[in-house]
Point group: none
Chain length 239, copies 4
DNA sequence: CATGAATGAGACTTCATTCAT
DNA sequence: TATGAATGAAGTCTCATTCAT
């Protein structure tokens, strides 16, 4: 594994940061506050939704955590449902763009590319509260039909395309065996999401005797197995 | 892969069937109902919890679906929370025992053993509404501290133990490379659960253009990759 | 005070015992049980109503305490309200008859007569669970309009008449000063009932630092004060 | 009896009025309501609890009578139980202080002091809906263990102390015979409370033929008897 | 007669949402 | 804009009462 995470194309601006200009300096603190409101509300909502789920999170709690009153929340989001959808959109859109870039300009082997994809994803997203979103989405999609379509279009399909392209690259270059593309992509995505969700569910509960695995290490082992199964010939020294 | 599913010890009686032989068959319909009530209520609750989540499922709905009135539900379960816990217990507790047996008496290679474990799991559980439980548990553990412990003790640890023993068997017999045991077990369990959750979340939503993968096929591909990465030497013909 | 309680006219058959023939010997235990049911139910209800009040007493509890099933209770009393009224009637009717007899044949002074009345009342009633009934009646009359009339006719008026006659006797014999009859009777009744109620409310609660007075001693002091205020001339030696 | 009720220390401002001077008078009607709400709710609750008892009073009724909606009640009191306790506190806590003051500065004889105590009590409390509270407390203490302690500490003990001090004063000045202090105090308190309870139970029911006594007159007769029994020598002309 | 499973009206309480200030 | 008091629909749970066995 080479240090792909240091690639210049992957800048430090957070993928989560969506608020276009959080630091416009020509406004007073009052104005700045007003500008920041939606973001603060979304952050508060994100944290609470991830912690307690959609139904168990009260609108007033979100407002309090964002430092505003209950009424103000409804000035920005017309309902709790819309707030939830905004949180999902905010945190999961634009998730894939960075990865596309990475695939496009990666110099190393395809195995390294995929390892890099995983590492970047974990740094930018998996180890972030935003990853907890997927947990709630899974639990709530069936109650939010519009979300299913949005999420499919915005997250699932791009993610599939991203990983498919990386796998295809490996196949095209003779590095990977030719296997059903989507299934392989799925196998690569699964551990990422699964691990992230675990961190935000059981990982956050104080249980005695639980099977505790360092998420990132676990991910690497999982990925090593998958890649070793995927490559036509393993050039690496045996572990 | 050999047909381990035909092993005599793994019979076809459903793990869910809990009242196989009511002692006296001469009961009137009232008595017969009474015997069946808990199971009917658990089934109704399972279906609704998986579909809508814990909070969004109303107690009265569960009762209606089971064909009884609101009050009757509370005759059997003292609260919605207890009902939920009963659903979890009912559907997951006996899940692991069968697997243990399979590991104990399996004749084939360890790769085959793990493939058989997966197939049995899918038949008995994955393709069943009960597979949606993990989704709810993930979403709700942080609101049910006791559930976290129960689920850890009753499901997570036994499942880990089960897969660890299967992997260890492979290592001991020289079939598998020696890798961190728990991480490998985790890598084997992850796709099972992940697939189950997907089936009961996005898989149940009508989206256009979604990345539809046959769950069982996807599982097999995932497992093939993992096993190929795990074995010291692949005896099978290239796919 | 002389030992009027030993007067022959006051026999040992309880004033509470209303069941006409509890000991008819020619029935088997099943029959006897059936005969005793109403009484057992009333006793159970009495105890529970006094302890918890009308609303907080559940029909099923009463049945359980009487050793029968919920349905059986409704075989004897068509509703919880009727059960309550039956308990009241059972325990408070016929309450006065004995006293009337006592007034009619008392030989001593009127002060002694009243002291005897009090002592008998306390023995037969005040120190009995039945005395707790008055507490519930007070709390519930306004919800049971019919009960108000019944209670007035059956208890209040006879009690007033009883004590008025005793006071009148004292006035007629020149022992008591001539004062408003009903008010004096009321003053004599008040401490009896008040004390009984206290025993069944605060007296039954575990409070620290409570003002604990022995009920019977308190009653005697109260009565002594009243009588001393009532008599035209006190023949007793100063206390 | 001298007119102790005219004592300057005992003014006519109601003991119930708790928000005498809202600090800023320029509030809109919304604000003004907010200030008054707790009192309005307590008044409504008092009336209904006294009329129907604790259990038979529905939270919504209280809210309606106070002119607000169900939810608003819960903005001020977290449960019906807390509302009940608040009613008790509000109406009884400040009850004793006035009496203490009266004892401290009374100029007349001890008999007159006690008569004044009674008269003030009746004016301030006995003739007020608040007098019905003791009835509910008696009926409910056994269901509210904490209430028993609170009521004992806040009402019973202070009342006992108050009357004991008045009696002791009489004994010290040679006006009263030396009798068991607590028992005498109890005898003085009993008619007060007993009368109050009667007014709010049978006294509020439309019965024909009931023994109707003017409560205040009845109280006076009762007290006259007690005092005449208590004094060492009666200076008053015979009634 | 006796049982106890079943019912469903009704009570308490919560909380998303509104709106006067 | 911002507030937070007020609302009332909705949900959980209880329990008096019924009725098939």
């Amino acid at each position: 594994m080479t240090a792909a995470a240091a690639q210049p194309s992957i800048t430090d601006r957070s993928v989560i940061n969506v608020n276009p200009s959080p630091k416009t300096p020509e406004f007073g603190p009052r104005q700045r506050r007003k500008q920041a409101r939606p973001q603060e509300l979304l952050d508060a909502a994100l944290a609470l939704f991830v912690e307690k789920g959609f139904a168990a999170t009260r609108a007033e709690e979100v407002a309090q955590r964002a430092g505003v009153s209950k009424g103000t929340l409804y000035l920005y989001y017309p309902s709790k449902e819309e707030l939830f959808k905004a949180v999902v959109r905010q945190n999961l859109s634009n998730l894939i763009a960075e990865g596309q870039e990475l695939v496009a300009c990666h110099q190393g082997s395809s195995a390294e590319l995929i390892e890099d994809l995983m590492r970047v994803w974990w740094q930018r997203f998996g180890s972030t509260p935003a990853a907890g979103i997927h947990k709630i989405v899974l639990a709530e999609v069936r109650n939010f039909p519009e979300l299913a379509q949005f999420y499919t279009d915005e997250v699932m399909i791009p993610a599939d395309r991203l990983f498919c392209s990386a796998v295809q690259r490996g196949v095209d270059r003779g590095e990977f065996r030719a296997l059903p593309l989507h299934d392989v992509a799925h196998a690569l995505i699964a551990p990422l999401i699964f691990t992230a969700i675990e961190c935000h569910s059981f990982g956050a509960c104080p249980v005695r005797g639980g099977v505790t695995i360092d998420p990132f290490t676990g991910l690497k082992v999982h990925l090593d197995l998958l890649l070793r199964g995927l490559v036509t010939r393993d050039d690496r020294a045996p572990t």
